[in-house]
Symmetry: C2
Subunit: 651 residues, 2 copies
């Protein structure tokens, strides 16, 4: 089940800092069977990195630097991708990349002709093959999150010590001897370190490495092992689990791996899994076991990819929603699933990697992200950290689009948060021809009155419609007028006048009206087609209305208008794939200039990385808990009226 190839990359990497991703800019391509043009155009670009041979699939607009960094390919940099250090030199081996103004200053005309570019200035637009030179500097900072530069100060660190041997005149204990040599830290030792310290000091002739996490000496190793300090950031999603191995001494990502959650057989969403636990108490142990297996397999996978000994992984971080986190820690999630939606705790105590089933260093810690509420979980805390929501002067709206949609509004002075039950439409779950964003899923739909174009994931014939394809299809139908504002497919007789080339697709399946996206069999055989049904449209309307009601109420609480929002961040693995233009068209986000709406990428995973790289950022995540005021929607008397209002599509 482990996926480490292109499919993973595609769902993990997206535009980072500021620029919107024009994923609906579909243009022509090869047509496949049954008459519909199915494009393989630039809604995604393929990047191939030499010499390590990694292929990455990203939305256009992501910089080469970010795409590399987020996929475990180290590129030299001291400024972290901000265009000031001019160290991120790469050579374009194949593909066309324009010369940026900064490139002209960084390279000679001959170098530019040879394809040399600064990776942080290369905004991807077409497929390229890139050669990355080996690292020459040791960075003091790393770029992670939404364009955030993090000064490296990991909790996990090592110190190489050459100690004096004890004598009758110097009977200091082994521990005292080691601690005295690390006198800038106030350390305590754990039992594991004490179990090895005596043997290791003597076997190593008192030349040892102290292994430290936070203020605890967790191990003592023979000789100098300071070059091996690693961490693993886990994004524990309901659907997908992603692991990133980081070199904590340089901030360099070393490997990325992901897999579908092994808990899927117990339900696609958290509510179904909570119900499964309620029905059969033994299910809790099984779900916990499956979470542990998922995390541990990924840990093994990234270590193997990078040739790292798991015992050198000294800390892991885990960002997940409240239910996934409870399950991973072996805690009954039932109270999260029924009103009044109570968590066991917001902040977690000290947890070891072993407590979440991850076999790395036996005393490695696990940083578990705290949750704001039952439906604003640790993934959101991590996401807000990655997005810098609490540091930015601009008033921003953070929307993590998914079955449960988390919404945070605010700036560095105040933050309001809530959760909206959007339902599973975006996962393709309640949609007739819906499917997950996997090979064969229609992920981009563009229409003119005469013509329809599709883009399919992978080298496969169309098999169904994933969330972004659903949003595209509905948005295009609204734009063309084939769907009215109330969400009703217009009568067939009216369609001919509105979009003559598409009208034949507007038809009936049994008692329900449908719009055919792709004929799988003979044109006209609706039962054998991929279609959008009237009920599918309703599902999407419910989802978008729930989300819109959420941010609408937050705006009211803040006394603001939509125009006061200076940036909308679309987060989560689905949010990152939404077309900002269509999100606006459907009313999923407030009506704003399209450039104010940007994809923020897999912010939960980025937040987890930040926590590993910097104790300061980790503390920031805890501080966030105090800064966000949670607004509960389910007990608001006006919720239903506002929800019904928001069911309409914007004019």
């Amino acid at each position: 089940m482990t996926q480490t190839s292109d499919a993973t990359a595609a769902s993990d990497v997206t535009a980072a800092s500021g620029a919107g991703v024009a994923s609906d800019a579909a243009v022509g391509g090869d047509a496949t069977a049954a008459g519909d043009p199915v494009t393989a155009g630039p809604a995604r670009v393929d990047l191939f990195f030499e010499p390590n041979g990694t292929r990455v699939r990203v939305p256009p607009g992501v910089t080469l630097f970010d795409a590399a960094s987020w996929n475990g390919i180290a590129i030299d940099s001291t400024c972290g991708g901000h265009g000031t250090c001019k160290k991120c030199k790469v050579r374009i081996v194949d593909g066309v990349v324009p010369v940026s103004p900064l490139d002209s200053r960084a390279f000679s005309p001959g170098e530019l002709r040879d394809g040399w570019r600064l990776a942080c200035r290369v905004v991807t637009a077409t497929d390229v093959r890139v050669h990355v030179p080996p690292l020459v500097t040791r960075p003091k900072a790393a770029t992670v999150g939404v364009g955030r530069q993090v000064i490296l100060r990991p909790a996990a660190q090592k110190r190489y010590l050459e100690l004096d041997e004890p004598s009758l005149a110097d009977q200091a204990t082994d521990l005292e001897r080691v601690l005295a040599a690390v006198d800038d830290l106030e350390l305590r030792a754990d039992l594991h370190a004490l179990r090895v310290i005596g043997r290791v000091l003597r076997a190593a002739d008192y030349k040892v490495t102290a292994v430290i996490v936070d203020d605890v000496l967790i191990d003592v190793q023979q000789g100098d092992t300071t070059g091996r300090v690693y961490g693993i950031a886990f994004d524990l999603g309901t659907t997908t689990v992603v692991a990133t191995l980081l070199d904590l001494s340089t901030g360099t990502p070393m490997a990325v791996a992901s897999m579908l959650s092994k808990q899927q057989p117990f339900g696609a969403d958290v509510i179904t899994r909570i119900s499964a636990v309620m029905m059969d108490p033994e299910t809790l142990g099984r779900l916990t076991g499956l979470a542990h297996e998922s995390l541990n397999e990924l840990a093994g996978e990234v270590c193997q990819q990078a040739g790292v000994d798991p015992a050198d992984v000294l800390e892991v971080a885990m960002a997940g929603n409240a239910t996934m986190t409870h399950l991973a820690l072996g805690i009954d999630p039932e109270p999260l699933g029924v009103a009044p939606f109570i968590m066991s705790t917001r902040l977690w105590p000290e947890v070891l990697a072993a407590d979440i089933g991850v076999s790395v260093h036996p005393r490695a810690r696990a940083v578990v992200f705290p949750s704001f509420g039952a439906y604003v979980g640790g993934d959101i805390t991590a996401g807000l950290l990655a997005a810098g929501m609490d540091r930015d002067a601009r008033t921003r709206l953070f929307v993590d689009v998914g079955t449960n949609c988390e919404i945070v509004l605010g700036n560095r002075d105040w933050l309001l948060g809530t959760a909206a039950p959007a339902g599973p439409a975006f996962e393709g779950a309640a949609i007739r021809c819906g499917m997950r964003a996997a090979d064969g899923a229609i992920e981009v739909v563009t229409m003119t009155p005469d013509r329809l174009e599709l883009k399919v994931i992978g080298d496969a014939p169309p098999a169904g419609l994933c969330g972004s394809g659903l949003v595209d299809a509905v948005a295009e139908l609204v734009r063309l007028g084939l769907l009215d504002r109330s969400g009703r497919l217009i009568p067939e007789e009216d369609a001919l006048g509105v979009a003559p080339g598409l009208a034949p697709r507007l038809t009936q399946l049994g008692k329900e009206r449908v719009f055919v996206l792709h004929w799988l069999g003979e044109p006209g055989d609706v039962a054998q087609s991929i279609y959008l049904s009237q009920r599918d449209v309703r599902e999407l309307q419910f989802a978008k209305a729930a989300i819109a009601t959420g941010w609408d109420i937050l705006l009211e609480e803040a006394g603001l208008q939509p125009r006061d929002i200076q940036q909308v961040l679309l987060a989560g693995s689905f949010g990152s794939y939404l077309s900002p233009a269509n999100a606006i068209r459907l009313g999923l986000v407030p009506r704003l200039p399209v450039l104010r709406v940007v994809s923020a990428g897999n912010v939960a995973g980025e937040g987890a990385k930040m926590a590993l790289l910097s104790m300061r950022e980790r503390a920031g995540a805890l501080a966030l808990l105090e800064e966000v005021r949670y607004v509960e929607l389910s007990d608001r008397a006006d919720f239903n009226d506002r929800f019904v209002e928001q069911l309409q599509f914007p004019a």
Copy 2:
């Protein structure tokens, strides 16, 4: 191997506060086979407690109150046995007990006639049967250690809480709800508590008990379980392991059990066990496993005796020497066994009962006593705590007599400590007819020029000589002049004039001179007798010289003379059984008035109890570490000369 009957009691309980034990005051009794009078006289007395049916064997001089308390029999008291509360009323059912002045004030003449006495005023001298009424008061303090009264303030505690149910208007997390109700403590929760809190709150209708150890919430239980708060104090000796179950809310000892160390097959003393680990690294794991087994079996035993659920044991304390402690924690003891004798650490980190193999509450803590040095271990820290060495204004000498003899001199202003390698003579190990203090061991020897009397442990014929019998025998021979000051058995021709009745016992076995204590076969058949050999005497001389050199050097370091010592405390399971008079006679302790030399009992176990009952006393044990200055003997140039001087017996 578990011993919980009389034999145990006999080796654990001894005089407590101040009074010397006259264990050499042997008087007549039934003679057994082969001509030597073997007495069952008052060197020990049997106490039988009703209604719980416990039989206890103690040296005369122990108060009924102490004997009961140290054997898990609760007697009412608020003053802790100091004769002020007059609550420790018991009724003597069988046996003769004089009326004390306090009894006359506490009881009517009729009650006195019926046998009513205050238990703390009954100094045992003969066998008695006692009825103990049920408890009526809940004590605030307990008497433990060497007559020390400890205000109850255990780290383990429970709080019964009736909480408000959560609602949409009150979405505090489960943990916040519990912690808010315990607002006088600054608590954190551990993962175990969080794993159960949600289910327990809901199953118990929000009426729960918070289970707290120190500043950690370790559990949440349904309903009111505040009546069940227990701890187990372990005295982890090299030879014997003792466990005492305590009710931490009342300070009442509930049960005591002991067993021979399961590590015995790897050697009788710590050096042999360290050597075993050095020869075969796998031995460490086996010794650790055996320590865990011993501790866990005893824990099960005391819980079963008292009808206590092991899950209600919330904390354990363990006092042991440095080697035994290292082994129990799974730490290689090799550096303790070779110069320069280095410990892993003096202070231990947080350890769970599970880390030392004890299956009680899964999150129960283990208080592990810190060591001063490789040969002044946690048992001595516990012993000094129990003896109040750091609180007493008097200058006192604390001597824990054993294979390794620990010696501490000082008062509340200063403390000096050292360790002297006494060798195994006191364990009966290097002695020809030596044996452990078990059934059949000669434990008391008294002589006149004409006659010899023995006292044997248990209802058994004499089988060998244990440590206290050895000391008695040698002291009596010195007193009568059958041994000269240099430790040589006098010529047989001289013996007839010195002690005509004993002279025939002075004879030869092979090339060695021996003194026969008991004929097992025909009188005259030396090979079939229990005897003391010339070499046995030398072994004892080496042992006593090592000890005497130790305290002599400490006196010199302190600038004091022996007469400046106001009290000598004989500690350890062997020290407590030594006759103070004979200890003085042999020069094991300084030449002082005999009343200044007292038995202190099993102080290590008492210190462990104190740590469980009082956080303040526990902190005191840590403070002691800073207060004792360790004097290393092995690197002193003058050690050998002084040792040779001390080989002689005092004039």
